[in-house]
Structures are given as structure tokens and as C-alpha cells.
């Protein structure tokens, strides 16, 4: 709103962009806010399952539940590093875009996507291991199996969506959909990717550390 009430003079710095840019500035503000609110809702979805897991874990059952051995913390930590690494590359991708450095942008963007796929592969490996070696399953291992596979599965689903999303963004940017000044899609992609990282911090803590 603040922007809309400004008289023309106040946006003089961008005067050369004319009216269309005013529209862009305002729509960007709308979309950014909408997107953040969406992420907040999504965060509540994860929080509910996390709350459920912690609640049941603490409500007097023996822990860890019978039949469940330890998780492979070392491997998961390695996989986490992959994911956090992709957060860093994503950050650099956006920065380079802002500085008009297309080559490095492309490098970091592809790196992010590759790291994301690597993380997913790691998760797939972990799942098969758990299922076939440790006999931990979604429906057959009590609240632990239920929470672990639901939460990490939801997270994995988000990463998958993210990988697809970033790929689309990358193709779009190659085709010149975004410019130096108008790149809201890339901002949203970055926010989303960082969000997925942050959720993983919480999941890693509750399942592997405590």
C-alpha cells in the first residue's frame, strides 16, 4: 500500500520504467506476501506432525519402541550436508542473478538441482535400508514408523517438488522470462528452497539427535 499512495515524484528514481513497473512493484509485494503466508501454513502442517510425534513419544511408552534399532545418524548427517550445501548454492545463484552474472547463476542453479537429487537418492537409500534390513516400515512400526516415514516422506515430497520447480525456473530463465529487475519467480524459488532446508533441521533434530 505504501507504494501505491506515493505520489509519482517519490518513485522518481525509477521514473524511466514508467507505469508498468509500478504494477510490477505492487504485484511483487502481493505475491511475496502471499507466498510467505503459504509457507507459514505449510510450516504448520509439518509442526502438527512433529507435535504429534513428540507428544506420543513422551506419553509413557518405552522408547525406542521394541524392534527398532538405531538409525544411521552418520549417513543422515552426510545427507543433511548435501541438502544444506544446496541451500548455499541456491543463495549464490540468486545473488549472481541479481548481479547479472548469468554464467555463474547457471552453474549454481544446476548445482542446486543436482544436490537436491543427490539428497533424494540418499533418502531413497536410507528408506530401502530401513525397510529391508531393519524391518522398519510405515504401517508396521508403531508411532515411530508412522511419524518417521510420514514426516520425512512429506519433506522428500517437498524436495521433489522443489527440484521440479527449480528446473522449471531455470528453463524459464534460460528463455528470458526473468530480467535483472523482474525475477520474482527466482525469489520465490529461493525462499521455498530455504524453507525446505529449515524444515529438515527440525526433522533431523527430532529423529536423529534426541
Amino acid at each position: 500500500m505504501a507504494v501505491a499512495t506515493l505520489p509519482h515524484g517519490a518513485t522518481a528514481g525509477h521514473a524511466d520504467h514508467g507505469e508498468v513497473d509500478q504494477l510490477y512493484v505492487e504485484t511483487r509485494a502481493l505475491r511475496l506476501q502471499g507466498f510467505l503466508l503459504f509457507l507459514i501454513s505449510d510450516c504448520v502442517l509439518f509442526s502438527s506432525f512433529i507435535f504429534a510425534y513428540l507428544y506420543m513419544r513422551n506419553s509413557g511408552q518405552s522408547w525406542p519402541p521394541p524392534g527398532i534399532n538405531h538409525l544411521d545418524v552418520a549417513f543422515a548427517a552426510l545427507n543433511s550436508v548435501v541438502l544444506f550445501g544446496s541451500g548455499a548454492t541456491m543463495h549464490y545463484a540468486l545473488e549472481n542473478w541479481k548481479h547479472n552474472n548469468f554464467g555463474r547463476y547457471a552453474f549454481f542453479m544446476i548445482a542446486t538441482i543436482v544436490l537436491g537429487i543427490l539428497f533424494l537418492s540418499g533418502q531413497a537409500y536410507e528408506y530401502t535400508n530401513l525397510y529391508f534390513k531393519e524391518h522398519v516400515s510405515w504401517a508396521g512400526s508403531g508411532i515411530f514408523g508412522a511419524s518417521f516415514f510420514t514426516l520425512t516422506g512429506m519433506h522428500g515430497f517437498h524436495v521433489t517438488v522443489g527440484v521440479i520447480y527449480l528446473t522449471v525456473l531455470f528453463l524459464q530463465s534460460v528463455h528470458g522470462v526473468y530480467t535483472k529487475d523482474k525475477y520474482f519467480g527466482l525469489t520465490a524459488g529461493t525462499l521455498y528452497w530455504h524453507f525446505v532446508d529449515v524444515i529438515w533441521v527440525a526433522l533431523f533434530t527430532i529423529f536423529y539427535l534426541i
Binding site: P65, P66, G67, I68, H135, A139, G140, S141, G142, G145
Partner: protein
């Protein structure tokens, strides 16, 4: 700043008259709630902390009525006194007040004070009910079933299936839980209830003070015949329904008689969940395929091939032998093929219902071996 005509604001005689009328009406309501017996809206109280709950209700109802009389009274009075009249100009407007900080202060503070008072009172009564009741009385256990209750007493073997008896004036510690879904144990005359949640034991403590028979009512939805878990519900032909169970407060002498009667009657009942020993069946050479066919024929009416929780009459049997979350069978024995065979042979009556034995199901030893082979092939 906008200038408004607040100077003309005065309350006038009508207002004070109306206020006086509301005050009198409120006083009458308070008098009513604090003095009349509450028989028309509550069953007569028959246990110790029940009376405290009634006194809390009296307090809340008195204050609530007074509050409601004032709010509704002013609405009606203002609506009449400030209606547009015939001789008003069509664009006549009301007195332009925007707010009045003093008034707003008081109508925030007074409810706040009331809330504080109510909190103190409720916490005290809560303490009387939840904490200060005698901890060592007669300890009784009640189990909810679809759709009846059973009871367990300290020196009676097994379960009691008709009514619950306790002696008058002796503290009772009642532990409740459930064998299937959530039920609730409510005796309206005691004012107390606790939900019967499977896997959880809830406790209520009280002292019955009046000899009598009090209906037990289930207040948590538990399936088709939830409504009939109310002792006062007659069946179609006027007879008491089978789930009708009363809470009977006896004189000590009568209670002794009843108690002793059940001790004798249940002398041989087992406290443990019943298990029957059996001659072993040879499971070698069981044919899973034949077992599957047999299962579809004889078992699927009561069992799904799904997870344990997926009940038809009996539990789902998919994980019966291989599910780490299901290490033991319903009879408490470890989930091994031999023990499953034992259940098929002897049947089993547990919390969920009755699993027929081999005679009732028409099974030969070979059939049982095939069925067990089939069940072990489910994963």
C-alpha cells in the same frame, strides 16, 4: 479532529428507572438460584463432591442470570426508548458519542473481577474433586465395552457383568478404561464422569452418600447402540435392555451379601485373561494355498486381511505373525505359528469378542495346519 456533539449526553430518568427494574429482577434471579432446590434441572445429588458442583452451578447461574437480565434488559429498553418516532425528521441522527473511557474501563474491569472470582472458586472446587478426595477407598475398576460395562473388584475373581455395587459412605476410587472404543462413565446423580479411553486409565474418586439405584450413562459416542448404554432405556418390549447397568449404593450389610455372593460365584473364574492349554498340532506340510481358500470361506466374515486395527468382528490378520508392532497374540502368548494354531483350535474369548473354536468353525487338524501356513504367508 472531528468535533462531535457529546455535550448533550445525559442519562435521564427512564434510564435509571429501567436500571432499577433490572436490579430488582437480578436480585430475584439471584435469590431464586441461591435458595430453591434444583430438582427441576438436576437429579438429586447422591455423592460427596457432587454437592460442591451444585454450589458452583448456583453461583454461576446467579451471576449469569443477573448479567443476562442487564444485557437483554438494556437491549429491550434502548430499542424501545430510542426508536425513530413519527415526528422525527427522516434524516434524524442519534447522539454522536464515540466512546467513554470511564465506562469502557468499568465494563472491562467488572467482568475481569468476575473472572478472577470464578477462577478462584472453580479452582477450589476442582481441588476438592480432583486432589483432596481420599486416595484409599474401595478400589473398583470399570471397563467399557460395546455396549455394556464390566467391573472388577479387589477380592472377586474375574469380571462382574451385571451391576456395580458399593457400600454407602465409603470412599470409592474408580478406575475406568475401555476394551474397544472410547466410552464414558457418568452417574448423573454423582455429577461426575470420566471417559473410558482404550490404553489409558482415568480415575474418579467420590463417596456415595445415599442408598439407591442410579443409572450409569455413556456419554461418548461408541457405535450403533451407544444410546442403549443408559440404564433407564427400556427395550421395545418394555424389559430392561441387556446393557442396562445401574450403580447401586447399598447399606454395608447388603453390600457384604452381594460381595460375598460374587466371591462364591466367581471363585473359579480366572483373573488372567483365559487361555486353554492344548495338545500340539503338527503344522508340518501346511498348504498355504488351500489355507487361503479356506480362509475366504470360513474366516473372512470376521477377519480382514488387513492390519490388526482393521476390525470386522475380529482383528485384521495381515500382520498376525510378522508385524513387529504385534509381538503377542490377543491371549498374550508370543506370535508363533504354534500359538496361532492353539487359538484356532480352542477359540478365544477376549476383550474384543468371541473367536469360535475348531468345532464351531468345522476345522480339522489339517485345515488348521493349512490356515496357519496361509497366515504365515501374509506379510
Amino acid at each position: 479532529m472531528v468535533e462531535h456533539r457529546t455535550s448533550a449526553v445525559t442519562l435521564g430518568r427512564g434510564f435509571w428507572t429501567a436500571t432499577a427494574v433490572f436490579a430488582v429482577l437480578s436480585a430475584l434471579a439471584i435469590w431464586f438460584w441461591t435458595t430453591t432446590p434444583l430438582d427441576i434441572i438436576l437429579p438429586p445429588v447422591a455423592a460427596e463432591p457432587g454437592a460442591q458442583i451444585d454450589s458452583l452451578l448456583r453461583f454461576m447461574a446467579a451471576c449469569g442470570s443477573a448479567l443476562f437480565i442487564f444485557v437483554a434488559g438494556y437491549i429491550v429498553y434502548f430499542a424501545i426508548a430510542f426508536r425513530v418516532r413519527k415526528d422525527d425528521a427522516p434524516d434524524a441522527i442519534g447522539v454522536q458519542v464515540h466512546d467513554n473511557h470511564k465506562l469502557e474501563f468499568w465494563w472491562t474491569i467488572i467482568p475481569t473481577a468476575f473472572v478472577v472470582l470464578l477462577s478462584i472458586l472453580s479452582v477450589r472446587i476442582w481441588y476438592g474433586i480432583q486432589i483432596a478426595q481420599p486416595a484409599n477407598g474401595l478400589t473398583v475398576e470399570a471397563l467399557g465395552h460395546q455396549w455394556y460395562y464390566t467391573f472388577r473388584y479387589p477380592q472377586i475373581h474375574g469380571e462382574i457383568t451385571d451391576e456395580m455395587h458399593v457400600p454407602v459412605n465409603q470412599p470409592v476410587v474408580l478406575n475406568v478404561t475401555s476394551a474397544d472404543v472410547i466410552h464414558s462413565f457418568w452417574v448423573p446423580a454423582f455429577r461426575l464422569k470420566a471417559d473410558m479411553v482404550p490404553g489409558l486409565i482415568n480415575t474418579i474418586r467420590f463417596t456415595p452418600t445415599k442408598v439407591g439405584r442410579y443409572p450409569i450413562v455413556c456419554t461418548e459416542f461408541c457405535g450403533t447402540r451407544h444410546g442403549e448404554m443408559d440404564a433407564e432405556i427400556p427395550t421395545e418390549n418394555g424389559k430392561p435392555n441387556p446393557g442396562a447397568q445401574y450403580f447401586v449404593v447399598d447399606t454395608p450389610a447388603n453390600f457384604e451379601k452381594w460381595y460375598h455372593g460374587w466371591q462364591v460365584k466367581n471363585a473359579n473364574a480366572s483373573d488372567a485373561l483365559p487361555t486353554v492349554s492344548t495338545g500340539a498340532i503338527s503344522l508340518a506340510g501346511g498348504d498355504a494355498k488351500a489355507g487361503g481358500a479356506l480362509f475366504a470361506q470360513k474366516c473372512s466374515a470376521c477377519h480382514a486381511v488387513g492390519p490388526f486395527s482393521q476390525r470386522i468382528v475380529g482383528p485384521g490378520l495381515k500382520g498376525v505373525l510378522h508385524d513387529p508392532a504385534h509381538p503377542n497374540l490377543v491371549d498374550g502368548d508370543p506370535a508363533t505359528p504354534e500359538n496361532v494354531a492353539k487359538i484356532l483350535q480352542n477359540g478365544y474369548k477376549g476383550d474384543i469378542g468371541v473367536m469360535p473354536n475348531e468345532a464351531a468353525n468345522g476345522l480339522s487338524d489339517k485345515d488348521i495346519a493349512n490356515l496357519v501356513a496361509y497366515l504365515s504367508s501374509l506379510k
